[in-house]
């Protein structure tokens, strides 16, 4: 399913349509001790699959058909035919509702269902529910242990029907299609231990397996048997939420060298710091409605009355030393730097290695530049440039502007030649203003120079921790590829969203173990580097410098409440003096009319109250005077917040 979707989703012009057909019958619940049953595994596959679709918002419609059910509910059931098959959900866009239903309503049942019958129900469902709409990708995924009696006479009709209506099939089974096939090329994978395989297959399972093979080989697909998967492998692949995918947008332009040489090109973002597609919205804690919450920004003069100023009466200014220079938006627009728009113009060529520093790459993306589509001449011209640069080990320094309204950049275009394509890779380079030439003390210093013994300890650490190694066949193996790891932030995000959707009111789950493992040092390395690390630890004494902890002597402005509590505890200064220091800070905070400062003052007052239980005199008198001064100081908003925040504390 994993490969299916990632391949087909792009070629599918219209919606992708999938019927998930799951066996929930008696034998599915069988399991060896300590192993998960086929039912549990199959349910996980379905859950993970639907999860992916919901959170990646793919164009897909889904139906769910269960068989082996105690009840029967399908349009074909008549005269004792098509029994124990239930259409749980008709074709619809998958949603959180479906996730909740799978979580709670898909449970093991106790009957036997004929998988070929169930398949017919699915085909019928696809047929009736897609009638009159345009669908090019119809798919049925069948999850079963094949441990039922089957009416094999219908097989040929079914195959014909599938071929005619262009429906593709996928099977998910507890065991691999052929013992040897599963192991191929997967030597790295730990033995998954498919349940049921140990004890050997039952007679039904063997017979059904032959039927499955016959079906998959006679369908018009390249290698039908590749679409028979095991539950465990499917779960492993589905574990990750689909990576954030975005359709690349073409940027047509002309590469120019001087005034009369131009090559028609098209650029694409190839690598970029991908951000989550959706932002958090603010909602009211009670109603969960975003319309109940409004954020408003008002402007006011810095006078005693805080006179409010209308938005239209505000202009922009910029600091020029101690002066502020008013600079209206109209003037800014008129005086600002203007340029001719979209461009990819060569300024000159320079040597690749010595001059272009990797750590000076700017921006957050790499563009790939190809010749314009369907323009062979442009293709040849660009190829000449790419190959020339490659042979000379040089790069083009170019001026790049995305369009008229974006700021122009300077950048480097590197030649990139792969087996099946050639392109230029563009990366932004710094402007003079962007660079900060910091100087740092030299490390060539007697105090820090490592001894030979120390250096060799580091040497053996590097030896033990090399992530790229050659195997017996002289082929390179990379043990850790960050660019193959899905962004853990997205994975965790969707895991938590899914949890909250399915089990509201419960705390968020821990990070999934597979994700934690993917982010960690490979086990082989951990084992191998243990000894060198021990040596390193002995050779390099590292001592944390004790920060001289200054005893608090006054209530500071950073965290006044904390300082206040600490000072009270120390009992060095008299209580009254500490209270005075705190109220002084509160007054300072309140001179800033801003919610953040208000909140900080409130925490101070809370601390004040909590420490005043034995002696409330200072607290009461301060609060009295504070309350009295509220109208004069225009602190009504603060007072309202204070009352709301302390309401339970007032006696």
């Amino acid at each position: 399913m994993f490969s299916y979707l990632s391949l087909k989703a792009q070629t599918c012009e219209s919606w992708l349509t999938v019927v998930l057909c799951m066996d929930v019958g008696l034998t599915m619940s069988n399991s060896a001790p300590g192993e998960e049953s086929s039912f549990e595994l199959a349910k996980k596959v379905i859950q993970k699959f639907v999860q992916r679709q919901v959170f990646s918002e793919t164009k897909i419609e889904l139906a769910l058909v269960l068989f082996g059910t105690d009840s029967t509910d399908n349009p074909l059931s008549q005269d004792g035919q098509y029994q124990n098959i239930r259409v749980h959900r008709h074709l619809r866009i998958p949603d959180c509702e479906l996730l909740i239903e799978i979580e709670n309503q898909v449970q093991p049942e106790s009957k036997e269902g004929d998988w070929l019958d169930a398949l017919v129900v699915c085909m019928d469902l696809l047929h009736t529910e897609t009638k009159g709409k345009k669908y090019d990708c119809l798919n049925i995924a069948l999850l079963t242990d094949l441990n039922t009696q089957t009416n094999e006479e219908s097989l040929e009709v079914i195959i014909n029907n599938l071929t005619q209506s262009g429906i593709t099939m996928q099977f998910f089974l507890p065991f691999p299609v052929e013992e040897d096939k599963e192991g191929q090329g997967d030597s790295e994978r730990r033995d998954p231990g498919h349940p049921g395989t140990g004890k050997g297959l039952s007679r039904e399972q063997k017979k059904n397996m032959e039927l499955v093979k016959e079906m998959m080989l006679s369908l018009d697909v390249e290698d039908g048997l590749d679409e028979i998967h095991t539950f465990r492998n499917a779960i492993e692949e589905l574990c990750m939420f689909k990576r954030v995918e975005r359709r690349p947008v073409a940027w047509p332009c002309q590469l120019t060298i001087g005034s009369s040489l131009s090559i028609r090109i098209v650029g694409y973002k190839a690598v970029t710091d991908e951000k989550p597609k959706k932002m958090w919205i603010t909602v009211d804690a009670q109603s969960h409605q975003k319309d109940d919450v409004k954020r408003e920004t008002v402007y006011c003069l810095d006078d005693d009355n805080e006179t409010e100023v209308q938005k239209d009466d505000i202009i922009q200014g910029f600091r020029y030393g101690s002066d502020i220079v008013p600079f209206s938006k109209v003037d800014q627009e008129q005086m600002k730097y203007k340029h001719d728009g979209k461009c990819f113009a060569v300024l000159g060529f320079t040597k690749q290695s010595a001059v272009i520093h990797r750590h000076q790459f700017m921006g957050s993306q790499i563009l790939k530049i190809f010749a314009a589509r369907d323009d062979e001449h442009a293709g040849v011209a660009l190829s000449a440039l790419i190959r020339a640069l490659n042979e000379l080990q040089m790069v083009a320094i170019v001026r790049y502007a995305y369009n008229r309204t974006s700021n122009p950049q300077v950048g480097a275009a590197f030649p990139c030649i792969k087996q099946d394509s050639e392109c230029l890779m563009y990366v932004q380079l710094p402007f003079m203003e962007d660079l900060r030439h910091f100087t740092f003390p030299s490390l060539e210093n007697k105090k820090f120079t490592p001894s030979d013994a120390q250096l060799s300890a580091v040497d053996s650490l590097i030896d033990s921790m090399m992530l790229v190694e050659e195997d017996e066949n002289g082929e390179q193996r990379d043990l850790f590829k960050p660019h193959r790891i899905p962004n853990p932030a997205f994975q965790r995000h969707f895991q938590c969203l899914h949890h909250r959707a399915v089990s509201p009111g419960t705390p968020l789950p821990p990070i999934e173990p597979w994700l934690k493992a993917a982010l960690d040092r490979p086990e082989v390395i951990t084992e191998r580097c243990q000894d060198p690390l021990d040596v390193l630890k002995r050779k390099f004494p590292l001592t944390e410098v004790e920060k001289k902890k200054k005893l608090k002597t006054s209530v500071g402005s950073v965290d006044p409440a904390r300082d206040f509590r600490a000072l009270i505890k120390q009992k060095i200064l008299p209580f009254g003096e500490v209270c005075q220091q705190l109220t002084h800070r509160i007054e300072q905070l309140l001179s800033n009319k801003n919610t953040q400062y208000y909140m900080k003052s409130i925490t101070c007052i809370q601390a004040f109250r909590e420490q005043s239980l034995a002696n409330a005199e200072h607290y009461n008198s301060y609060l009295q005077s504070l309350k009295g001064s509220i109208p004069n100081r225009g602190l009504e908003v603060f007072w309202e917040l204070l009352v709301q925040g302390m309401i339970c504390l007032f006696t």
Binding site: I257, V355, V545
Partner: protein
């Protein structure tokens, strides 16, 4: 008169760095004090021959204009009239500066005094004056003032040991480079030195690089390349030009009451459902671990792909003050990584509640220029690596490759336009224009100073350098009818292809032979080549361009 020229230079220089200052950090207080002047002007007028041209305050437009007035011929005349030149007493000047500092009621976080001079013996050997100056200098240093010397080369060499070595502050650390010990013979260099010192070196974060259980090296993270932007605007009230304050409030739409942070939650909409989280849960989701760098392993340098780039790099340097021994281990790691040409792969959490990223630590050795000035500091450059999600799936168009003749012609073009790239070579025209505009408005100039757009191709120069090469290249790759400037033809609608097809290009045998001779067959399109094959009865098994060409060549050469 020598003094006069010096004065002029000094002022000019000050002026320039001042302009830079206004742009870079407008909150600093700056004073300009001349010593060795004829006239005297200072608070309480207690010092002779010391002229406080500008008191310690934030530099503004007016001051820039005033310093500007001292520039050039006219400026020199003005300077001679207003301040003149007279007896020198550095001690008095330093004392005066000390007073300027102490008159400021604000608490200053950092105090610096730069002495601009070209005289290594300012008092001409007067030991009393020398001693006075030394005493004052040490007083100043005791109050936390850092004294720097910005000296120019003088004939016979500027000898610091004669006098100034006792005046200036010692380097912060005995290991610190003696940046100011070498005199500079060029004004520009000096200026650069002033500028370089202006930048505050501040760590973005101090955290641990963990190599394994209990092996933590303290490091500081520094941003060495940050995209400069136009500084933010300040909102002003139109009538009076006074700054306004903004207040943001969150309130309930229906009741109108202010909402406390606890009365707000966060939500995202997926699969027909609003999924709601507490505000601290939103933060907790992003938390994987505490901030820090965790070593995963090492890889050979060639494993770092050029296109694995998602954001500008940062720089890593040990923090001996946090964990003693950090510098030594860091230094050993740097040395070995560099020697073995490997990089360290780490998991990196840059701050609290930030999800992890993987980074490559690239070793960078210290480099000094001839003047022993550091060009690149020792440390690791931290390159951020992309995750699987950061790659986009592209469907690259396929084209035939260029022939060696075509490539060679392009190589000639490339070689003609070769230049030495320097990363400081290009100013950002957008920002430069903005500053010029501000300057013009602040100083009431008629029009902003013109900027030179350094990232504009110098088309005339390029054309001239390339000469006939462009046409030669075009002849090799483009057919006569082809115009790359024209808009691409509108996409052909399916079904009407017949009428819109390009006219068939029939080649005569002579033309074809000419192409073979000139190696220009590659210029022709595949359909044309196929037609040619048919025309000359060439049987080909393949349909690839190179195969067609090879077959034609074989036939026509025989």
């Amino acid at each position: 008169s020598k003094k006069q020229t010096w004065m002029k230079k000094q002022t000019m220089e000050h002026y320039q760095s001042w302009i830079g200052k206004i742009i870079s950090s407008d909150k600093d207080l700056v004073a300009l004090v001349f010593y060795g002047t004829e006239e005297s002007k200072n608070p309480r007028n207690s010092f002779k021959h010391v002229y406080v041209y500008h008191d310690l305050s934030e530099p503004g437009a007016k001051r820039v204009q005033e310093v500007d007035a001292l520039r050039g011929e006219k400026g020199a005349k003005l300077a001679a009239e207003t301040i003149g030149s007279g007896e020198t007493s550095l001690g008095d000047a330093l004392w005066c500066c000390a007073n300027l500092y102490s008159d400021i009621k604000l608490r200053l976080s950092h105090k610096r005094l730069m002495i601009f001079t070209c005289r290594d013996e300012p008092h001409g050997g007067d030991s009393v004056k020398d001693r006075q100056a030394r005493t004052k200098a040490s007083d100043l240093k005791e109050t936390g003032v850092v004294i720097d010397l910005m000296h120019l080369m003088k004939p016979g060499g500027f000898d610091i040991s004669l006098f100034f070595c006792d005046i200036v502050s010692p380097p912060e650390d005995e290991s610190e480079l003696g940046l100011q010990l070498q005199p500079s013979d060029k004004l520009e260099d000096l200026l650069k030195r002033v500028r370089a010192k202006e930048l505050k070196k501040r760590a973005l974060a101090r955290l641990n690089l963990c190599l394994g259980e209990g092996i933590n090296v303290a490091v500081g993270i520094y941003a060495t390349a940050v995209a400069a932007r136009k500084p933010g605007s300040i909102k002003l009230y139109r009538e009076t030009n006074e700054p306004v304050r903004s207040k943001t409030r969150t309130f309930h739409t229906q009741t109108g009451s202010l909402l406390l942070p606890s009365e707000i939650k966060k939500a995202q909409y997926y699969g027909g459902k609003e999924i709601v989280m507490e505000r601290d849960e939103v933060d907790a989701i992003k938390k994987f671990d505490d901030p820090g760098l965790f070593l995963i392993g090492f890889k050979p340098m060639e494993k770092l792909k050029l296109h694995h780039h998602i954001r500008p790099a940062v720089f890593l340097y040990p923090e001996e003050d946090e964990v003693k021994g950090s510098s030594c281990l860091f230094s050993a790691l740097l040395k070995k990584c560099s020697e073995r040409n490997v990089f360290a792969l780490c998991r990196f959490i840059s701050r609290r509640n930030y999800p992890p990223r993987f980074v490559a630590l690239l070793p960078q050795n210290e480099e000094l220029d001839e003047g022993k000035v550091q060009i690149t500091p020792p440390g690791f450059n931290v390159i951020y690596l992309p995750f699987a999600d950061d790659f986009r799936t592209l469907d690259p168009p396929q084209f035939p490759s260029a022939s060696q003749t075509q490539v060679d012609k392009m190589k000639e073009i490339v070689s003609k336009l070769r230049f030495k790239y320097r990363s400081e070579g290009f100013e950002n025209p957008v920002i430069q224009q903005h500053f010029r505009n501000l300057e013009a408005l602040a100083l009431d100039m008629m029009a902003p100073e013109e900027i030179e757009d350094l990232i504009m191709p110098k088309v005339d120069q390029i054309d001239q350098r390339l000469g006939p090469l462009v046409q030669e290249f075009k002849d090799l790759v483009y057919p006569a009818y082809y115009n790359p400037e024209s808009k691409p033809a509108a996409k052909r609608k399916t079904g009407q292809s017949g009428a819109e097809k390009k006219p068939k290009v029939e080649l005569t045998e002579d033309e074809l032979k000419a192409h073979v001779q000139n190696n220009t067959l590659v210029k022709l399109t595949v359909p044309v080549l196929k037609d040619a094959c048919k025309q000359f009865g060439v049987r080909t098994t393949g349909t690839k361009k190179q195969e067609l060409i090879d077959a034609l060549i074989a036939r026509l050469r025989s």
